[in-house]
């Protein structure tokens, strides 16, 4: 049985300077209740790993607007103009990583791999400062694993054993982020007793705490 905590208790665990991975593709499948509580507690100096910085006024976007983020590692920041503004003003550090490379770096961390070779970004600025290798005549970039102190993820249905399943396009980075952080907290849209083992997408062993988010 996993510990069920409030969004406030979840945020309490996160300290100034922590690194957090936050699931979500724009506002879809993102743990907004936990984010709201991080905003309320004004935990700052955070490194945030996420697909995108969402939009103004919404979920991960709030952390940017409230200047709680020191560094963001993401594949896209164009939907939130405030991220670009802070970047140009030198207020925030932004690492842009191709989306497939970002998820694969996180997966490498969660899967105990030391890195991988990807063709993505060869011949572009992504290659700068990285090792490259030729395998069977094709050039690849070597990319390293990426983990975090906390993964804050979303799940459609979560059971008391920490098993998670999803509806629609809410899976996005949530599934893999659950494997790559010291502490993993899932915001469950719905908490159920027990999922059918065939429908589980994230096995319970990856989950440390459950926040019941209600429908959002």
């Amino acid at each position: 049985m996993k510990k069920i905590i409030s969004a406030k208790e979840a945020a309490n665990m996160i300290k100034d300077g922590s690194s957090i991975m936050v699931g979500g593709f724009l506002s879809c499948g993102t743990p907004d209740k936990i984010i709201d509580e991080i905003v309320r507690q004004n935990i700052s100096n955070l490194t945030m790993i996420c697909n995108d910085t969402s939009t103004l006024g919404n979920d991960r976007g709030k952390l940017i607007e409230n200047k709680q983020i020191k560094k963001v590692i993401a594949s896209h920041i164009g939907t939130n103009p405030e991220t670009g503004r802070q970047m140009n003003a030198g207020e925030i550090e932004v690492d842009l990583v191709p989306m497939g490379t970002l998820i694969e770096k996180i997966r490498a961390k969660g899967s105990g791999l030391g890195g991988f070779l990807t063709p993505t970004g060869v011949g572009t600025v992504i290659e700068d400062g990285k090792e490259t290798m030729i395998v069977d005549g094709k050039k690849y970039i070597f990319e390293k694993p990426l983990g975090a102190d906390f993964a804050l993820i979303y799940g459609t249905k979560v059971d008391k054993y920490g098993n998670v399943c999803f509806h629609g396009t809410t899976r996005n980075h949530n599934t893999i982020m659950a494997t790559a952080a010291e502490t993993v907290i899932v915001q469950a849209e719905k908490l159920v007793d027990c999922l059918d083992p065939d429908e589980v997408v994230i096995p319970g062993l990856f989950i440390d705490y459950i926040v019941v988010g209600g429908d959002n």
């Binding site: 724009l26 164009g78 694969e104 060869v122 459609t156 629609g168 996005n172 893999i176």
Partner: protein, 226 residues
């Protein structure tokens, strides 16, 4: 040329390009569309051709945009719009999305560009100091898709976009296979660009004046449907 440009409205341009791009699909193709103009291509898929649209955010089988009470807030496309999940569709996570995209399982992708050059290099994600959205999934998609189709306005704000050599940061090297604008279509070969289609409103000289890259004209030059 200014005169001609006035004759083609934004709507015309969009339609000419989208219609031409849609002719590239074969029945059963799995296709990933970029955001903006590329999205319009879905409306012009010829009858009898069934194309399955893939989205990097986790949906194979993207259908129509949804409004009102048809919306399921947990089903979006990569642009954040609410969409239908068509019969036969599936949901998946980002790792699976990029297994599809980088792994060579997407038959064709249609996406926009800031610049394309005669080697098939593509710049689409960054104007240093001005426009920094990030590359999203485009870099993976372009290296992985079997066919990369760039669709864009021939000239944007007076700037030539089909250049000899991209000077904006690249999205990928030598991955573009086809360039479609409202004025013409270029195939990218190992030796450079071949113009295969021309909009009959333009002459070959018009194209030469509006393209920096060298190109040759196909002996089977076709007229684009406008």
């Amino acid at each position: 040329m200014a005169v001609i440009m006035q004759e083609l409205s934004k709507e015309d341009i969009r339609k000419i390009i989208a219609k031409r791009a849609a002719l590239e699909f074969k029945d059963g193709d799995v296709v990933t569309l970029g955001i903006g103009l590329p999205t319009a291509v879905a409306d012009y898929v010829p009858e009898g051709i069934n194309v399955i649209f893939q989205s990097e955010n986790g949906l194979l089988g993207v259908g129509k945009s949804q409004k009102g009470d048809k919306i399921d807030k947990n089903i979006i496309n990569a642009g954040g719009g609410f969409v239908e999940a068509k019969t036969g569709s599936s949901f998946y996570d980002s790792q699976m999305a990029f297994t599809m995209m980088r792994g060579g399982h997407i038959d064709a992708t249609v996406l926009g560009a800031l610049q394309v050059d005669e080697k098939g290099n593509l710049a689409s994600w960054l104007i240093p100091g001005k426009f920094v959205p990030g590359m999203g999934g485009s870099m993976d998609l372009v290296v992985g898709a079997k066919k990369v189709i760039v669709v864009m306005e021939h000239i944007s704000k007076g700037q030539i976009k089909i250049v000899k050599k991209c000077n904006l940061p690249l999205t990928a090297c030598r991955e573009v296979n086809l360039i479609i604008t409202e004025r013409c279509v270029f195939k990218v070969n190992d030796n450079g660009l071949v113009m295969t289609d021309i909009n009959p409103m333009f002459t070959i000289d018009d194209i030469k004046c509006s393209v920096e890259a060298d190109f040759i004209v196909s002996s089977n030059l076709r007229a684009m449907s406008i």
